[in-house]
Amino acid sequence: MTVHVVLSTGSSSEFTNGEKEFDIEARNVRGVIKVLDAKFPGFGEFLEAETMVAIDGELFEDGLYQPLRDGCELFFLPKLEAG
């Protein structure tokens, strides 16, 4: 299935040369990260350690194995500071 992946500001530029949006074939978030890591070596480790994901707006801090539906939107966001 194809998912639309968007990198938020702050998580993309140093790894992807400014490229921010991708259409990726993957069944779960782990699959998306594998594809991005293959394209931009080292990016996968960054995404796993430093971001949370939003799948169609729902936030997942343990998003690695979250299943994806065809056509869904997936955003990688900076993690949250506690107050």
């Binding site: 968007v6 938020s8 500001t9 702050g10 998580s11 530029s13 350690a49 430093e50 971001t51 939003a54 169609d56 707006g57 729902e58 936030l59 997942f60 801090e61 343990d62 998003g63 979250q66 939107e73 955003f75 966001l77 900076p78 993690k79 949250l80 500071e81 506690a82 107050g83």
Partner: protein, 760 residues
């Protein structure tokens, strides 16, 4: 126990709070109450200068004083490489952190730790501090955020090149980082709008104002050190102290005390690495506690700011485009919550074109720390003030103006995803329907409205559920209770297990007794730790079903759990009297041994919080004093587990917002030294300053939580500053863009004949 209107037995009820009696009878153990035999008194020497190079530091006379058992400086802690680690919004650079704990090359703010001693009495420790000889080369300093960004400003770091700017600047500055988000085409949006407003604002840095100052006791022992401390996260204390002291995480056990307030300010360490080092050097336990003045001088306030907000909107009230430019003080080391400010600026609103830019700026002030919805209340003040001007310009009711532009599920957020949860419109409707919103006002009185947004957190939590032989239950989590979590954990456990709340005792366990828990902050604990408790309870239920099946000699699939009892799933299973939770607990030894389970997860699916508030004020035209006549705060809380605690969170956030709006600020002299480091001169609201704040609980349950929970601890502090400023503008005809709106400033604005008669 009767069933609550929401269909639950315990969720939504108001049992007596379990921490009440210990607190009112004085038996609650706060950090300064811990005392080990032979404990030494630790004391810190602090910088008298805002910015100074340490030319020489001689501790020999202090060390020679009888009764002094240890003296330390920055050289007694390992240094760290210069590297930013971790996610954008919570990056840590341990080169900075270790220098904030205790200065090395330079002191960066008035009150910055320079050295520390441990002695057999407090008096000797003070004497020893006075004997430490420091030669300073005083350097130029800068306090204000605009001054720090100005050309030619004194630099805190000679090599700081602004990150996030491409191409990278070629010269250093005090701007540590630039962040930004954008959707749509903002410039086209402004060009197409019927009206465009642009206003600038400033807010003062303010302290969290927790009643209990930082305090701890540390005992260094090879591979088994211990720390007792007041903190919002004892696992964070363990990890940070281990890193800063250069020892293994597994070699430190941390116990969290009862806590006298935190509000974000106790998510980091100040004294713990010093106390542990002094204990290592002396061989004795060391107790340290800050005075109130030290809290103000050296612990993190939230950022002061300088902001510009621009919005474009049409005659019908629809906002077309919006832009916020935010500069936040980080204090002496990088790391303000400006990215949160950017992300939250327009989050409650559906605006097609948005741009938000943030600058993280260092100046000679204590390093900023988290404070209730870090970053969001600051930008909300600027945005919600500007929206008020727009509504007035159109002659629209400010609530209806916000409702017309409100974000709903599916709204595109500036930081990427679409909003997944509602709740904002419902808070507006709650105020529109509130009878007090229609009460007429008198002379010198005004009504103000504002809204706020906070993400709410989730993340790593764990809990252990231990069943006792008499059917009582101990729930242990690693989440310090700063807002009623012991009550809410016990209530969710009672609801899940189907037993009496009073049979459950919830505790905050030390770092060796439960798996890792992230800090109590980000409005995450009732949600995330609650899910860990529920998970653990469900494991207990599964275990008890299995034990009932063993007793009845049937398959476990033939046993259901209902209302605190194991029951046959159907008559086909057999005719058995239900076994109660207590009956199964009593048979633990013959059915497989002790009954207990751990719930552990990285919780997800949290929903954001929205708050809309209005207040009525009266301004004394002779003194400029603002009296809050009435305050109503509507907040989406998902589902309130214990409504009294939720109301308390909302009221607490509003009171802190009132202080932020009207009185609180750091006053520095011309040498950059703090002049008002105490509650006599730094004025937080007291009971007589505020009316009864009415909390309106709006419940739009979060479907991702078994009981519908949303975080409630933070968003309540986002609207008050703008609500009060908007009310003051309506009462006086004066728009006050700089916080605090203290009596002298307001009086000067009202007396200023050069300003127009009535400002929007």
């Amino acid at each position: 126990m009767t069933t609550e209107p929401n269909g639950f037995k315990w969720v939504g009820s108001r049992p007596d709070r379990p921490d009440g009696i210990p607190k009112v009878t004085g038996t609650a153990q706060y950090a300064a109450d811990f005392y080990l035999p032979g404990a030494l008194y630790g004391k810190v020497l602090r910088s008298p200068h805002a910015h100074a190079r340490i030319v020489s530091l001689d501790t020999s006379k202090a060390a020679a004083l009888p009764g002094v058992k240890a003296v330390m400086t920055g050289a007694d802690l390992p240094d760290h490489p210069f590297a930013y680690l971790g996610p954008d919004r919570m990056q840590v650079n341990f080169w900075h952190v270790t220098r904030n704990i205790i200065a090395r090359e330079k002191t960066m703010y008035h009150g910055h730790a320079v050295a520390a001693v441990a002695a057999t009495s407090d008096a000797i420790a003070r004497q020893a501090i006075a004997l430490i000889e420091v030669e300073y080369e005083v350097l130029p300093h800068v306090i204000d955020v605009d001054d720090a960004m100005a050309e030619g400003a004194p630099l805190l770091f000679d090599d700081m090149i602004t990150r996030g700017v491409e191409p990278a600047p070629t010269t250093p500055s005090n701007v540590a980082k630039r962040v930004g988000f954008e959707i749509g085409n903002v410039d086209d949006g402004f060009a197409a709008a019927d009206h465009v407003i642009e206003e600038s604002y400033k807010t003062a840095a303010i302290h969290q104002g927790y009643i209990e100052p930082q305090a701890c006791q540390a005992l260094w022992q090879q591979h088994k050190s211990e720390i007792w401390t007041c903190t919002q996260g004892h696992f964070a204390v363990r990890n940070l102290t281990a890193k800063l002291c250069g020892i293994s995480v597994g070699d430190i056990k941390v116990t969290a005390s009862e806590i006298g307030g935190g509000f974000g300010g106790k998510t980091v360490v100040y004294l713990e690495p010093l106390a542990l080092t002094l204990s290592r050097l002396s061989g004795s336990p060391v107790r340290m506690k800050m005075s109130r003045e030290e809290c103000f001088q050296a612990t993190g306030p939230t950022s002061g700011s300088s902001m510009t907000v621009k919005i474009g909107f049409n005659n019908d009230g629809k906002i077309i485009a919006a832009q916020s430019i935010l500069a936040y003080q980080a204090g002496a080391f990088p790391g303000s919550p400006v990215m949160n400010g950017c992300m939250c600026s327009f989050a409650p609103y559906d605006i097609e074109h948005q741009r938000t830019v943030g600058y993280d700026v260092v100046s000679n002030r204590p390093k900023a720390a988290a404070y209730r919805a870090p970053g969001s209340p600051i930008s909300a003040f600027a945005v919600e003030s500007t929206f008020d001007i727009a509504a007035k310009q159109l002659g629209m009711d400010p609530l209806l103006f916000r409702k017309m532009n409100a974000a709903t599920p599916g709204t595109q957020m500036v930081y990427g995803p679409k909003l997944a949860h509602g709740g904002y419109v419902e808070t507006i409707d709650a105020l529109l329907e509130h009878p007090a919103y229609k009460i007429p006002l008198g002379p010198n009185q005004g009504r103000g409205v504002a809204s706020g947004y906070w993400f709410n957190g989730a993340g790593d939590s764990a809990a252990t559920i231990a069943v006792n032989p008499d059917g009582s239950v101990t729930v242990a989590t690693g989440s310090p209770d700063i807002g009623g979590s012991r009550a809410s954990m016990a209530m969710m456990a009672a609801e899940t297990l189907g037993i009496d709340f009073n049979l459950i005792k919830a505790n905050v366990a030390d770092t060796e007794a439960v798996p890792f828990n992230h800090v109590t902050g980000g409005s995450r604990v009732t949600y995330a730790t609650g899910m860990a408790v529920i998970q653990g309870c469900n494991k207990v239920i599964d275990d008890m079903r299995g034990r009932a099946a063993t007793i009845w000699d049937v398959e476990v699939e033939g046993v259901i759990w209902e209302d605190g009892h194991a029951k046959p799933a159907s008559s086909n299973v057999g005719e058995f009297e239900p076994l109660s939770f207590a009956e199964i607990a009593a048979k633990f030894a013959v059915t497989g041994g002790p009954i207990g389970a751990t719930g552990a997860l990285n919780a997800s699916g949290q929903a954001p919080g929205f708050s809309t508030q209005f207040c009525d004020v009266e301004v004394d035209p002779d003194t400029g004093r603002v009296e809050i006549l009435r305050y109503i705060a509507a907040q989406d809380c998902g589902r309130a587990i214990h409504p009294s605690y939720v109301e308390g969170q909302i009221q607490g956030g509003v009171v802190q917002g009132i202080g932020w709006a009207l009185n609180e600020e750091y006053v520095y002299d011309d040498k950059g030294c703090l002049s008002n480091g105490g509650f006599l001169d730094y004025r937080v609201p007291v009971t007589s300053d505020v009316p009864m704040i009415e909390a309106v609980l709006v419940e739009v349950p979060n479907p991702n939580h078994p009981f519908g929970v949303k975080g409630v601890g933070e968003v309540g502090i986002c609207p008050p500053m703008a609500a009060i400023a908007n009310a003051v503008a309506n009462a006086t005809g004066r728009r006050m863009p700089d916080l605090p709106i203290s009596p002298p400033k307001l009086l000067a604005a009202m007396d200023d004949k050069t300003r127009s008669t009535v400002e929007l």
